[in-house]
Amino acid sequence: MDIAISDGKIAGEVSSAAKVIDASGKVVMAGGIDIHAHVAGPKVNVGRIMRPEDKLFHTSRRSNMTRSGGGFSVPSVFETGYVYSKMGYTQVNEAAMPPLLARHTHEEIQDTPLVDQSAYTLLGNNWLVMEYIKRGEKDKLNAFVAWMLQATKGYCVKLVNPGGSEAWGWGMNCVNVSDPVPYFDVTPSEIIAGLAEANEALNLPTSIHLHCNNLGHPGNYETTIESIKLLEGKLPKSREARDQIINFAHMQFHSYGGTTWKDFESESEKIADRINKNKNMTVDVGFVTLDETTTMTADGPMEFYLHNTNHLKWANSDIELETAAGVVPYVYSPKIHVCGIQWAIGLELALMIDDPMQAFITTDHPNAGPFRRYPRIISWLMSHQARLDRLETLHKWVPDRVRIAGISRVFDFYDVAKMTRAGPARALGLGEMKGHLGVGADADVAIFDYNPKTMDPTTDPAGIEKAFQKTAYTIKGGDIVVIDGEVVSKGNKRTIWVDATNGLTDPAVMQDIDKKFLRFYSVTMNNYPVQDSYVHNGLTIKPEAV
């Protein structure tokens, strides 16, 4: 079968003068889409600054086409673009953009070559969001969310530890969806339900993305189940573009059983069962790759907890009326039982969720592992033996606390394509444009040097890892950007964002925003919205209001 490319799109046919790439005996997929990674913005930069040792022996030299770069778990922006592209990825979404620092995020996005990007606007701890939800002012909330996405040039509504990060400003946390936020007196469950409703009222291309409360604590699966229950049975307004009402971020961190780290165990089965029953929900897994990495999240209290656990350096930040953040290095050591169990939980979730269109491959880069380990994750998912071999090298407590040894399911290349391409594209509401190779799609193509007819992924994890690390070709928007694992083009990257305002603003909401800026913000409102010039080669999606 031939795939024709013309004018940056997959076409029905092309003239005989077209350049021909022989991909016979190779795996051809659409360009990869990373639905959840931390690759641009202030907290990523804090990670780069506080971890010079991360770059020490991980640098790459410049070439005629590329700039120099470095960093293993928090690579520089150029390195990020190159490495993703070499792995066949053509879109990467920054999963947490603090609105006040959106300009910085877009500056870094502009400097990340080759891959399309979008950024998720953090709204789960925003003062006005909580006040509108508390007062039940739904129209105002809708107008505010639309304005915020427009002002920050963001792509979707992201909730990180809803209410909890604001509570952290008071030295507290919301560990359960019914814990009230101090002063604001709303609960995480009200914030989640309220923003999900606003998201659908605005008919945004993707659903809300939720980083649940109580991340990374033993026994937190109960909080996760409570969060899932909030939106059970609810469907998106328009089902043409996507099926899900909510995407759960890095579910691996939210599927923990036990009561302490000592009796810590996997509860992935309970979570996977729930997701299997709720076809209106998706998850990105957040696989632990057992590497040394740098955790960074807008979940401020969780990072403080982590720092008190491993005693490594800690950065903390409070973003005025909007969110918080923390950064702590972390070593996922195979010798520590907790890390081994975390590794297994990620794989179990992916393997126990029946439909690969509901579970996506991420490492919550760099929180559970650096994105450059995706090929290794794929090799584990495609080979039961590879998982057993890894399990054998882990702490002796691990096998009794996890189910991974008993799961013989292995994924084929179609499943992998769903988890890294078709699934994320559809969940992002970009299913027509991306994630497939049908006529009319963006010409984002990854060609891997692996012959599935003669080679067997179930017995060849090393071969799979190698093949997915460096593509034979990566084509982005019709432009060949990588050949044999070397970058050969400066690409045509775009920044995708959502304008749901319909050109209108609500005067009452603008007055509320004005007041907040006058009384509390350290900047004036005029200096707040990100100017259009910061959006490099922008692609604006304007949803029609329902």
Partner: protein
């Protein structure tokens, strides 16, 4: 300008012909040169790095990273060297007849580094930002050492036959430091584990070191009467400081 000579190790020279050794990359800033552009290279080579002994005949105080990551063989500098000599060394023996600049033996994991003259600051220390400093091996300095020696060290041994400047063993979490002369001040600041022996005097003491007992230790065949301290209690540390000074 300084030269970066991180390829000058027995590991890199092993299995190369003399001409190939002359062509080994050496960096001046971002420019790449061949070793032969700066040095006259002579002698014999061997495929086994263990059999290779490199001699740098003269002082090279502006050449950095000599012996970086070397894992086997011998390396002798008949003079002084620049920064980072023996950095991240894993094995083999490296000797500097003259002085070594800062960061000698940084991040060292194994092998032996001997500096006959003085060593600069950050001897056997960590790379900036890293919480894992020296992980093994042994460093011996015939003269004095600078500040912050053995920073964040977790294993291995540093012996300074002369004096040490400020903050010897800062943040140490293991390993052993012996200072035969005086230590300027703040010995063992924020150390949590490990041992420091000071046979001379300590200029300024940190309050976080708590006297435990009088004891005798043997060092270099001599018995010393020492006072034993535990610290740095500011970090809840359990490091041991043996002090034989007045």
């Amino acid at each position: 300008m300084y030269l970066d000579a991180d390829n000058v190790t027995p590991d890199h020279f092993a299995g190369k012909t003399l001409d190939e050794v002359r062509a080994v990359e050496i960096f001046e800033g971002k420019r790449t040169y061949a070793l032969g552009d700066y040095f006259d290279v002579s002698g014999e080579t061997d495929p086994d790095p263990n059999e290779i002994g490199i001699v740098i005949d003269g002082s090279v105080p502006k050449v950095k990273y000599i012996g970086m990551k070397m894992s086997a063989g011998r390396l002798l500098v008949k003079g002084s060297v620049g920064m980072y000599v023996g950095g991240w060394m894993r094995g083999g023996r490296l000797r500097v007849n003259g002085d070594a600049d800062a960061y000698a033996g940084i991040g060292m994991e194994g092998g032996e580094l001997v500096v006959d003259g003085n060593a600069g600051d950050y001897l056997g220390a960590n790379y900036r930002g890293d919480w894992r400093g020296m992980k093994g091996g042994k460093i011996i300095v015939g003269g004095n050492a600078g500040s912050d020696i053995g920073e964040f060290m977790i294993a291995g041994e540093i012996v300074v036959k002369g004096n040490a400047d400020l903050q010897a063993g800062i943040h140490a979490n293991g390993g052993k430091i012996v200072i035969e002369g005086d230590a300027e001040s703040r010995v063992g600041a924020q150390m949590t584990k490990g041992e420091i022996v000071v046979l001379g005097n300590i200029g300024y003491w940190l309050p976080g070191f708590i006297y435990q007992k009088d004891d005798q230790i043997e060092y270099g065949g001599t018995q010393y009467a020492v006072k034993v301290y535990k610290g740095d209690r500011g970090e809840g540390g359990k490091g041991i400081l043996y002090y034989a000074g007045a």
